[in-house]
Symmetry: C2
DNA sequence: TATAGTTATTTGTACATGCAAATAGATTGA
DNA sequence: TCAATCTATTTGCATGTACAAATAACTATA
């Protein structure tokens, strides 16, 4: 029998016939611990480095890209964000002088977002704290095994 | 040696000294697949039932509560939402007539959010679709093993 | 090469959420 | 009992994001 499809029925209550699969229940718990961890990470970045979580991840991705630059669309897919969200995020990054926009020579529609020196320095300062906070948060929320399964991934 | 602390160094690139732990990398992938699944669930609920994800989860939690009611604070902690967010969410639910507010007799500050018949019907109609969509999405994104580890949880 | 269709980015708008302050009611201690 | 403190909820405000439309530029085809 597939335990995953078994339903929870709380017979001890009179009212309501609450039916919720174990799957939904586990899912809800999962997204809550994940949200808690993301909140922890966000706080660390904001408090210690004045960076939002997406902003941090953007400059992190840029730093690992050839020439430290990426087109808006590429950035969007790396961060799993809407194009318009990225457009506004890059606006923020540019205001903070962590990146600059550069026109794409062979496609005049295209825009490169390029990491600046200031951006690189900010990343280098934030990264250790981010990594440490992630490690701690995963442990505190008992989530180490979550990543374990994904370490075995091919890609 | 602890594989989790090993770092990825892309020596094939000239510029940038990209350092990112496997942990961070896995974490980013994890939150992306989870966001994808949440988006899938949200679309199903919105398209088929005119419900937001949080709204759905609110009435689901209410339906499993004694007398189908919960105080704002309790609802907030069940949904892992800010009190003010819940206040505004309940406002939405009430506009849709899925819940009603009821004053708490023994604490005049307190407010109960109570599921209405309409709310219960909406939930009963949405729940199968939600459960099915979750099952499909988990499979499509190759995430079944994610919940597997959490099924063994005590609480 | 001109036109139609496609792609990249930005902009207008809406919305869910969080933080902090305001408000109202409960609780505690002198 | 009254004053100070604490708790529950709501409200003002800011922000990050998504969707859809607008704009600009590229591509393909007739």
């Amino acid at each position: 029998m597939d335990i995953h499809t078994k339903e929870v029925r709380l017979t001890s209550q009179q009212e309501s016939v609450p039916i919720m699969s174990k799957r939904s229940d586990s899912w809800l718990k999962l997204i809550h611990v994940i949200a808690n961890i993301e909140t922890d990470l966000g706080k660390v970045l904001q408090d210690k480095h004045g960076l939002g979580l997406s902003d941090y991840r953007a400059i992190e991705v840029l730093s690992r890209s050839p020439s430290c630059e990426l087109r808006m669309q590429e950035l969007a897919s790396h961060l799993r964000l809407n194009q318009s969200s990225v457009s506004r995020m890059v606006e923020r990054l540019e205001r903070s002088e962590l990146t600059v926009r550069d026109l794409c020579p062979d496609d005049k529609r295209g825009v490169y977002t390029v990491l600046t020196d200031k951006g690189r320095l900010r990343l280098e300062s934030a990264q250790p704290d981010y990594e440490a906070a992630l490690k701690v948060a995963l442990k505190e929320h008992g989530c180490e095994e979550l990543l374990a399964s994904r370490f075995t991934q091919i890609s």
